[in-house]
């Protein structure tokens, strides 16, 4: 949408203009040509008729002269040649016995055509082509052979042709100008829309105004606006996430800094030890938060699960039991595994992250001496992974909100990132799985179940 773009690629306006000019040139030239050919044909007929009439007239005249003054015709017929222009003609008059009765100047002394022929023909005199006509008088005693210069006859048609060419060219120029103007007018709304889009600041993602645009362009604008909308949503989510992430990272950083400062001026050994422990805890929390953020970003970057493999959920569950055994033991929590075979299509690393977050949350929020149960299984084409704990449970009113990024249940004392369940949900979405939150065994605690399509 930059200003340089119209220079490259093809132009609708130019293509349209080119096609219109080409077609109107062909049409106009064609009609001019037809007109010319028709006019030429008509003028030939006209000339031929004039030639025949002149021949008849002169022949009659000559016969009359001969009857009155004898066979020598002389000058008395000269006046018939005085006409100039396209209607000028010359002739020979021959008697029946091949004697020349009369001959115009510059004509050969021999007959132009054999005397036997009669009617129209072409003759070559002095290297020029002439239209020739020969006819006998009624008594068959005299024959006239009359010729008319082809170039003279053509000159009229050529004049017409010249006028036609000039008129056609003028029409073409007019047509071209008006078409260019019409096209410019028609394309102006498009240019205006393009201008509006081009003039935007990069962060202006408001929809393009469609009211002004022609119907043909609407689908394009609608698609563009839908795209803009999606980009807007994505950007807003990104901004919110970045703001939330920086907000969440500040607290562990502040704790690290404050503890380090307190450590430097610790007043006794107990204070130093306690502060050092807090410092380590803060670092661990910061680390965990960063890991969660990275897991989130990785899950987000996965636009759809493409590199699909068959992943056994029961293996993942077994690994999670091993991975969390120490943490569970430290809190005196019994970590049980109930692994029935369950295979799904997906990405193993993401599914591991999903399971890890669920188990991690369960252990985190279950008090000392509680029970956490990891289960997998498949039936009726559904493979599922569930984690069940004896913690405080999640009130029904909070069950939707806890999937929001950085959301923590009010009054919850456990230092968490608020990202774990967002990650779980995102990964589940990528695998077209659904996440359900329910109450744990005996109506206590929480059970989170992720249902996949079995592979």
């Amino acid at each position: 949408m930059t200003a340089a773009a119209p220079a490259r690629g093809w132009s609708l306006r130019r293509r349209l203009l080119g096609l219109l000019v080409l077609s109107s040139t062909i049409l106009l030239s064609g009609s001019a040509m037809l007109f010319y050919l028709d006019a030429r044909d008509a003028s030939q007929k006209l000339f031929d008729a004039a030639l025949r009439e002149s021949a008849a007239l002169i022949l009659q005249l000559a016969q009359h002269e001969i009857e009155e003054h004898g066979p020598s015709l002389g000058v008395s017929l000269m006046h018939a040649e005085t006409r100039a222009g396209p209607f000028a003609f010359r002739y020979q008059i021959w008697t029946e016995d091949m004697r020349s009765a009369y001959r115009s100047a510059n004509l050969p002394t021999t007959p132009l055509m054999p005397l036997a022929t009669e009617g129209f023909d072409w003759a070559t005199v002095n290297g020029q082509r002439w239209r020739a006509y020969s006819t006998w008088n009624a008594r068959h005693s005299l024959q006239i052979q009359i010729v008319q210069s082809l170039s003279d006859r053509r000159s009229l048609a050529n004049d017409t042709l010249l006028r036609l060419v000039v008129a056609t060219a003028c029409l073409l120029v007019l047509a071209l100008g008006s078409m260019a103007w019409i096209l410019t007018l028609t394309i102006r709304p498009l240019r205006r829309t393009a201008g509006h889009v081009a003039d935007r600041s990069p962060d202006d993602l408001q929809p393009v105004d469609e009211r002004d645009a022609p119907r043909e362009v609407r689908p394009l604008l609608t698609a563009l606006n839908q795209l803009l909308g999606r980009v807007r949503d994505t950007l807003a989510a990104e901004r919110r996430f970045t703001a939330d992430a920086s907000h969440e990272l500040r607290t562990p950083l502040a704790a690290i800094r404050a503890n380090a400062q307190v450590l430097l001026s610790a007043r006794d050994v107990a204070e130093r030890e306690r502060t050092a422990r807090d410092l380590l805890d803060s670092v661990d929390r910061g680390t965990r938060l960063i890991e969660q953020l990275l897991a989130m970003a990785r899950a987000d970057a996965q636009a759809g699960v493409s590199a699909q493999e068959i992943v056994p959920l029961d293996d993942i569950a077994r690994n999670q039991q091993l991975e969390h055994a120490v943490a569970a033991a430290r809190k005196g929590i019994a970590l049980h595994l109930d692994a029935e075979p369950a295979c799904v299509r997906g990405v193993a690393s993401l599914l591991t992250a999903l399971a890890r977050n669920l188990v991690d949350n369960a252990i985190r929020y279950t008090p000392q001496g509680g029970v956490v149960r990891i289960g997998t299984g498949a039936h009726d084409g559904v493979a599922q992974l569930s984690v069940c704990d004896t913690g405080p449970g999640i009130p029904p009113g909070e069950r939707e909100r806890i999937f929001e990024r950085f959301y923590r249940i009010p009054g919850n004392d456990e230092p968490g990132s608020g990202l774990g369940l967002s990650i779980v949900r995102r990964i589940a979405e990528l695998h077209a799985a659904d996440v359900a939150i329910g109450t744990g065994e005996d109506g206590r605690g929480t059970r989170i179940t992720v249902r996949f399509k079995a592979a």
Binding site: E248, A258, V262, R267, P410, G411
Partner: protein, 227 residues
């Protein structure tokens, strides 16, 4: 100075509490908004340090409530939210200062002193009284140029009385300004500190008001001027 810290994060809260204690303050620490509000109403805090993202009640709500209930001493907001609107909103709701995490404990101490100074209507950083000079920032006291060695409780007690010259403070009030909830206090602790201050600074500085408590009278010149 007796301070209330309202901060939900365990590690940051403990570190801030300890850090301010190292600077000679008595700090009570609560971890949610509701408890914080109750504590402000019950205690006699020289200043409140308030986080905004709190469980049970949002920091700004706490601030609004304690200001409405007449708490007039400085409130400093400590928060991870750092955009301008949040600052403006915090200050307009009644905060005296706005500190963004992560912060420096020394700077926090300085901002506390500045806020206290402003709220007491003082422009000077030093407390001066009849040739006695007390510097709250350096936590040092000198008389006619001679440095007087004071313990941190003695210093806090002296500063407290100097900041409220002309007002009588009861033994209970003095004790509350010096000790946080976790301190074990001897029943005669205040008397011992007063005794030590008199020994180091002269008998006439702190006057005993029988049956009421202790006070530092404004210097004679000031008394005449105000009369």
């Amino acid at each position: 100075m007796r301070l209330l810290l309202i901060e939900d994060d365990a590690q940051l809260g403990r570190a801030t509490q300890t850090g301010l204690a190292q600077q000679g303050h008595a700090v009570d620490w609560v971890r949610d908004g509701v408890t914080g509000q109750v504590a402000v109403e019950d205690g006699d805090y020289g200043a409140v340090l308030l986080d905004l993202g709190l469980p049970r009640q949002d920091g700004l709500e706490v601030l609004r409530a304690i200001r409405r209930n007449g708490y007039a001493n400085p409130v400093l907001i400590i928060t991870a939210r750092d955009d301008i609107q949040d600052r403006v909103l915090g200050l307009d709701t009644g905060a005296d200062d706005f500190i963004v995490k992560p912060f420096d404990l020394q700077e926090l101490g300085a901002r506390l002193r500045a806020a206290t100074r402003r709220s007491a209507g003082r422009a000077q950083t030093l407390l001066v009284h009849d040739g006695l000079q007390v510097d709250p920032a350096a936590r040092s006291a000198t008389r006619e140029g001679v440095v007087i060695a004071l313990t941190s409780r003695e210093f806090a007690l002296l500063t407290h009385l100097l900041e409220r010259r002309g007002h009588v403070r009861s033994r209970q009030q003095l004790q509350e300004s010096l000790y946080d909830w976790d301190s074990e206090i001897e029943s005669n602790a205040i008397e011992v500190h007063i005794h030590n201050l008199r020994r180091k600074l002269g008998r006439e500085l702190i006057r005993t008001v029988h049956g009421q408590g202790y006070t530092i009278d404004p210097p004679r010149a000031e008394r005449l001027r105000s009369a």
